[in-house]
């Protein structure tokens, strides 16, 4: 990586010393983080490390107890409502696929696409050729052209994942956050997802939370490891694998990891 090039790129997200407290428990503690334009940034760590909470924090689902979160160097995310954050260009795909079950695939995409989403506009919104073309394009991209008139709740798990990714992409975000996008996918689907990620990264910065180390190794540029809400280390996959503390967290304290997968810690989404 050339330093010069990096500074030229806009900082999409900057988190400084953020903390999230649930009762007496710090889900995220003094965590600092930065993503630049065009970056594909993986966020890894054992269960309960605070990865999902951090994503929640960025999209406004939870609020920070301390610290600051700045989007594109100008928007203070802590002051914005969820939908305002989205309108400023943050897209999020949740861990469990969450699509609108009683709407068709088409309608799911139509609702999600980038447009003036204020009530007054939605009331007057009419379908048009441009929009249709855009939706069709996305359908082709996520491979659901066949199913476009099917109700989303009838899709398979993998299809729902794709659909949700499509929905997020339709928002044309400048920061895309994906929470375990390949969970429950076949190898082939994984591959496709990876390719999609590379394609998307040209348009926006991406943060991916992932457990599948194979996948991370394959596509990662930059990896951040979280542990107990704190930053453990940051760097390339090779850096990470060489890091002693990471080894310790992942291998040495298995008991802890198992314990952390109790329902409370896992009940994300």
């Amino acid at each position: 990586m050339k330093k010069g090039k990096q500074t030229a790129k806009q900082i999409i997200l900057q988190a400084k010393n953020t903390s999230v407290k649930f009762g007496a428990f710090f889900a995220v503690k003094d965590f600092s983080f930065m993503v630049r334009e065009g970056e594909l940034h993986f966020l890894i760590g054992p269960n309960g490390a605070g990865k999902t909470t951090f994503l929640d924090l960025v999209c406004g689902k939870t609020r920070e107890s301390e610290g600051s979160l700045i989007l594109k160097e100008k928007h203070d995310l802590s002051k914005l409502k969820e939908f305002e954050i989205v309108r400023k260009g943050v897209g999020r795909k949740f861990q469990a696929p969450s699509v609108f079950g009683n709407l068709t695939v088409w309608e799911n995409l139509e609702l999600s696409m980038k447009q003036d989403k204020r009530l007054s506009h939605i009331l007057r919104a009419k379908p048009n050729q441009e929009k249709d073309a855009e939706i069709k394009e996305m359908l082709a991209l996520i491979g659901l052209s066949e199913q476009k008139d099917e109700q989303a709740r009838l899709l398979s798990h993998g299809q729902k994942q794709w659909l949700e990714m499509g929905m997020v992409m339709m928002q044309k975000p400048s920061l895309l956050m994906l929470d375990e996008p390949i969970a429950g996918m076949t190898e082939e689907e994984e591959e496709k997802t990876g390719e999609l990620l590379l394609k998307m990264k040209e348009k926006c910065a991406i943060i991916v939370v992932e457990h599948d180390m194979e996948f991370v190794r394959k596509y990662s540029e930059k990896v951040t490891v979280m542990h107990e809400g704190q930053l453990l280390c940051e760097g390339t996959m090779d850096d990470i694998q060489g890091n002693e503390r990471v080894m310790e967290v992942y291998l040495g304290r298995k008991g802890d990891t198992a314990d952390a997968s109790t329902p409370a810690a896992r009940s994300v989404v």
């Binding site: 969450s98 009530l119 009331l123 379908p127 929905m167």
Partner: protein, 360 residues
């Protein structure tokens, strides 16, 4: 595949057309009394369209629509009472020690103001209520129970401020409406057709709304409000709007109701009537506009039939319908055909209609 949707819409249009023609023709074969009854049911049918938007489509269950219905009805009731007493003090005010009319009684003397107020006042109250409630993310069950609290407040106030509301007696003893005698069958028929007209207009407006992107957004709110919020929608404003629309519709229904019944009292707007309204939607088929309309007319006809013939059995019947519809027929009558067909052909699609509403 798109034609599925199209056909689906067409069939509802035919059903609507058949229903409207039937309702236009019925007054020619029924007695004045039955026409009057049917007119009341139509007023209820108007009410349930709003409720269906709110609950069937958006998944927000209000047990407080009696309030808005009652507001519309009371506003029209006050106007009619003013016509009847030609500006004088109604009897209950006299024995409550009032010496002059309260300001809102005087204002409502004007028919145009009364009609507008009957729709707008419920809407204003709904905006205020909805704005705070939905902004503060009071959701699902909490909202439902909160609306019950509001019903309690409203009914208690109506009863205890009897010097201006008529208390438990409510408002009754009307004579004319805009100068026409209320007891004249011809007037009642005109009101019947006006009600039918309102019903059709509101049905058409709402079906337009539902078929637009806005309608999709409502269903999306039912399926996953948070997901929609994370798609960039200010969902609470959507909820406020739909709540307000449904309040306005309820107000209109209340006005039409009072014209035909000639009485409005607090028992008509309490908790039990508010829950009964929900039943009409459920029986007809929530999430279909025409279903609840049929549900309202059918259930009320059944109520009349049973209480004329078997007053004791009516409550058993009503209770049983509640249970059966909710458990076995969540899609209501409108899903009956689908359901029968599925049973016959044992279709593969796992479209258990229960799933439709698992989120509601």
């Amino acid at each position: 595949m798109k034609s599925v949707v199209a056909n689906y819409m067409i069939s509802r249009k035919w059903l609507l057309l058949a229903l409207v023609i039937l309702l236009i023709l019925l007054p020619f074969v029924l007695s004045d009394f039955r026409v009057n009854l049917l007119g009341r049911y139509l007023a209820f049918a108007i009410l349930v369209i709003g409720l269906d938007l709110l609950w069937g489509y958006m998944g927000v269950l209000s047990l407080g629509h009696g309030i808005f219905f009652g507001l519309g009805a009371y506003i029209m009731g006050i106007h009619l009472k003013m016509e009847a007493s030609s500006g004088g003090l109604p009897d209950f005010m006299m024995w409550s020690g009032m010496t002059e009319l309260p300001w809102f009684w005087t204002v409502l003397q004007h028919p145009v103001i009364a009609i507008l107020a009957g729709i707008i006042v419920p809407m204003i109250i709904a905006v205020i209520l909805g704005f705070f409630t939905f902004r503060n993310r009071i959701q699902d069950v909490y909202f439902t129970i909160l609306t019950q609290a509001l019903v309690m407040v409203t009914v208690t106030l109506l009863i205890s401020r009897q010097d201006v509301t008529g208390g438990t007696n409510g408002l009754t003893g009307f004579s004319t409406i805009f100068g026409f005698s209320l007891s004249d069958p011809a007037t009642q028929r005109v009101i019947y057709y006006v009600t039918l007209g309102c019903l059709v207009i509101i049905l058409l407006i709402c079906s337009r709304l539902i078929n637009s992107l806005f309608g999709k957004a409502l269903i999306a709110i039912r399926d996953g409000e948070n997901r929609l919020r994370f798609s960039g929608y200010d969902t609470s404003m959507f909820k406020v709007l739909v709540f307000t629309i449904s309040a306005g519709i309820a107000g209109l229904a209340g006005m039409l109701f009072v014209m035909q019944v000639g009485i409005i009292s607090p028992t008509q707007i309490g908790i039990i009537p508010s829950i009964e309204m929900i039943l009409w939607v459920a029986i007809g088929g929530r999430g279909t506009l025409i279903g609840p309309v049929i549900g309202a007319i059918l259930t009320n006809s059944a109520k009349t039939f049973f209480s004329e013939s078997y007053p004791d059995i009516w409550l058993y019947f009503l209770g049983a319908v509640f249970v059966i519809v909710v458990i076995f027929l969540p899609g209501g009558l409108m899903s009956l055909g689908k359901k029968l067909k599925r049973r016959n052909s044992n279709e593969k699609g796992q479209t258990n209609s229960k799933a439709d509403y698992s989120a509601s």
